[in-house]
């Protein structure tokens, strides 16, 4: 019998590579390649017939600088992210800590399921329910405001309230996912650390500050990065919460992703839309790199 020249470990690795090639090919051809095509498309005036696409160079990028809706949607997107991500993290952590304190496992599972439910509810249904709850005339939210003597608010139609309102709906929807992440992170922290610290006389705040928070850092970084990307690409809830005036009222809820969609498929101006896509891609890449740099640190005890 001839012995294979490759060791067992090498052969296993080769098999692994072979299996990894399939998702790699998928990733390259279905995700990366079209992304680069957008770069190329952004240099042309769109036409359904590739032969009739006129090369315009950087014209679309110059057009972006003149387009007030670009500035507006960028500002809105930034606001969504700046309000939404921290809110999601803080609330998510708060609820996860409370749930973690529930010692009966069955009960904890029930709570977790309840908090997770909004995450798997279709955005259209969420939007419909919220537009009724937030209605100035019939909504339960305004009912509560009136009960405590505050004036009723037209949350989704007031141009200065619409964006924070949409953000709140998105946070509410994402919260379940965030809670599950933090809960998993909390349960991964070894009990001994807490016990050892307690013996040393640490109080609850110190435990949280010096054990829980640092050891949750990987989950925190992951959540911040994923949450930021999701908010930078915000689209579905914005569309559905103001369906016949998408991004309105008065462009106050318009996001970059929604604007790209409107330019591409409301106007069939895919060249310009591709240019905005490239801008959004660059922004997301930059912010993600900065975040990873600033937030990541290895904690070991």
């Amino acid at each position: 019998m001839k012995r294979s020249r490759l060791s067992l470990a090498t052969r296993e690795a080769l098999w692994a590579y072979a299996f990894l090639l399939i998702p790699l090919a998928f990733f390259l051809f279905i995700r990366i390649w079209p992304a680069f095509q957008a770069l190329w498309l952004s240099l042309y005036d769109w036409n359904a017939d590739p032969a009739k696409r006129a090369f315009v160079g950087l014209e679309h990028y110059a057009q972006m600088a003149q387009d007030p809706l670009i500035a507006r949607s960028l500002r809105n997107t930034l606001l969504y992210t700046l309000i939404g991500v921290p809110a999601q993290l803080v609330l998510g952590l708060g609820i996860a800590l409370l749930l973690n304190a529930v010692t009966r496992e069955r009960l904890r599972d029930v709570f977790r399921a309840i908090y997770f439910a909004p995450y798997v509810t279709p955005a259209v249904a969420v939007a419909w329910v919220f537009s009724w709850m937030l209605s100035a005339n019939f909504g339960v939210v305004n009912e509560m405001l009136r009960a405590v003597g505050l004036p009723a608010q037209d949350f989704l139609r007031n141009p200065s309230l619409a964006l924070p309102t949409v953000t709140a709906v998105v946070v509410w929807q994402n919260l379940g996912f965030q809670v599950v992440l933090f809960l998993a992170g909390l349960q991964n922290i070894p009990r001994d650390y807490y016990e050892a610290a307690r013996i040393d006389g640490a109080d609850g705040r110190q435990l949280f500050r010096h054990i829980t928070l640092p050891l949750l850092n990987p989950v925190m970084v992951f959540s911040a990065v994923i949450g930021t990307i999701a908010f930078l690409q915000l689209f579905t809830q914005v569309v559905n919460l103001s369906f016949t005036d998408q991004g309105g009222p008065l462009h106050s809820t318009l996001t970059v992703a929604l604007y790209i969609y409107q330019v591409a498929f409301g106007r069939f101006d895919l060249g310009y839309a591709a240019a905005i896509t490239v801008l959004l891609f660059a922004i997301i890449l930059l912010i993600t790199l900065v975040q990873l740099r600033l937030l990541s640190r290895r904690v070991e005890y």
Binding site: A48, W132, D154
Partner: protein, 420 residues
């Protein structure tokens, strides 16, 4: 030997030609529209009739949800995968033509003169540069829907004929408790049909017109335009006969009317079906009010048309035009009215007294003779211009004159960038 070779060749050639012929005889074309139950069923039936009359042609009918429709068309046609015949809103035509998604109808198969003669005048909005890019089966106009029961309770005997009567009625129909409305007179909806009402109806009734004849210059910035605009915003600001988003949701104004909480709405003939099946009270339809009795009438007309894409080539193009001619024929339009409830696009069909005297269809039919379809170049953007002009006044208390001036500038910019 040679002879038998020749004979064999001839036989082969014959077989080959026969094969080609039979392959050619069977053409498959694809028709696309968005999901709407009665329209899907109607097209299915029309295709069945068409295939029976044209044995060599097979039609594949595919539909998509409304929100994903343009996206689907936008990405499929460049990939060579999409429809040969496609249904689209007339307002999308300029952007679709500019981006190469439609081809002009071949003049030897569809005579432009004939279409000009046979179809209601608004169908000419399907023309660009003198060429037709599609034809409609049905057209729509606007009218006033009113709740007869609420009218009776408020002591109003008949639908308003003038705008003065309209807000008199509106005031009587509005019920407020504290800071809350429990019932409103008019279902105001800037992003529903009201932006059309301002641009195409009120403006023309005041004696203005929205654009220059070549469509390149915005003319609604004049005194008539501002008067029309202010009159509209006053319904909310001054007369308080309604508030936007009284009922939330995509078509809140219509939902509120169907729920019996709104006295009057202005809506398209396409809403007849929904209102008929939903409203559990006596309701009526009237022609839109005018400035004064005997004054100028105006209406906004619109339609969906069937266009032909660059994917239809050779025998497919011929088959596609055949299908297009069939689904816009008088027979198909009559069936469409019965099945979908939309008004026929052919002149001789709307002259039918049975239609113009119908209490529900009548007001819409009468309006068709003077309805105009706005010559949009970028429907989504132009609609936003008017909606925002209204919202600046209603939501931000901007002075109507200032807000209207912004709208005129924004609109002119859109026209300029299209015609540059």
């Amino acid at each position: 030997m040679l002879r038998s070779f020749v004979r064999a060749r001839a036989l082969w050639a014959g077989l080959l030609a026969f094969g080609l012929m039979s392959a050619q005889a069977q053409v498959t074309i694809t028709y696309w529209q968005y999901d709407f139950k009665s329209k899907i069923e109607a097209i299915d039936e029309l295709i069945k009739r068409f295939e029976a009359a044209n044995p060599g042609i097979k039609v594949v009918h595919q539909t998509f949800p409304y929100d994903a429709y343009q996206q689907k068309v936008g990405s499929s046609i460049p990939a060579g995968q999409g429809p040969d015949v496609v249904n689209l809103f007339y307002g999308w035509l300029p952007t679709w033509v500019k981006a190469g998604y439609l081809v002009p109808l071949p003049e030897n198969l569809v005579s432009p003169k004939q279409v000009d003669n046979d179809f209601v005048s608004m169908a000419q909005s399907a023309k660009m540069g003198g060429k037709y890019y599609g034809l409609p089966t049905a057209v729509r106009s606007l009218a006033l829907f009113y709740n007869k029961d609420l009218f009776q309770q408020a002591g109003i005997s008949k639908p308003p004929r003038t705008w003065a009567e309209f807000f008199e009625a509106g005031k009587k129909l509005t019920v407020k408790q504290g800071d809350r409305y429990t019932q409103i007179g008019y279902g105001i909806s800037p992003d529903g049909q009201d932006h059309h009402l301002v641009r195409e109806v009120l403006l023309r009734q005041m004696g203005g017109r929205p654009y220059s004849d070549d469509g390149r210059k915005v003319l609604f910035g004049g005194a008539e335009g501002l008067k029309a605009f202010t009159m509209y915003t006053d319904w909310v600001k001054k007369h308080g006969i309604g508030i936007p988003s009284f009922f939330p949701g995509n078509n809140g104004y219509r939902d509120g009317f169907i729920a019996g909480k709104i006295g009057m709405i202005i809506d398209g003939s396409f809403a007849i079906g929904t209102i008929r099946s939903g409203a559990k009270f006596n309701w009526g339809v009237a022609e839109l009010p005018v400035e004064k009795v005997g004054g100028r009438k105006a209406n906004f007309g619109s339609f969906w048309l069937h266009g032909i894409t660059p994917l239809a080539k050779g025998p497919k193009l011929e088959a596609s035009v055949k299908l297009l001619n069939f689904i816009t024929s008088a027979e198909a339009q009559r069936y469409w009215l019965e099945k979908v409830g939309e008004l026929p696009a052919r002149k001789d069909l709307i002259k039918d007294p049975k239609l113009s005297l119908d209490p529900v269809y009548g007001p819409f039919i009468l309006s068709l003779s003077y309805a105009k379809a706005t010559p949009f170049v970028d429907e989504a953007a132009q609609r936003t211009v008017i909606v925002n002009a209204i919202n600046r006044v209603l939501l931000q208390n901007m002075d109507p004159a200032q807000s209207w001036k912004i709208a005129v500038e924004e609109e002119q910019k859109i026209l300029d960038s299209f015609y540059k």
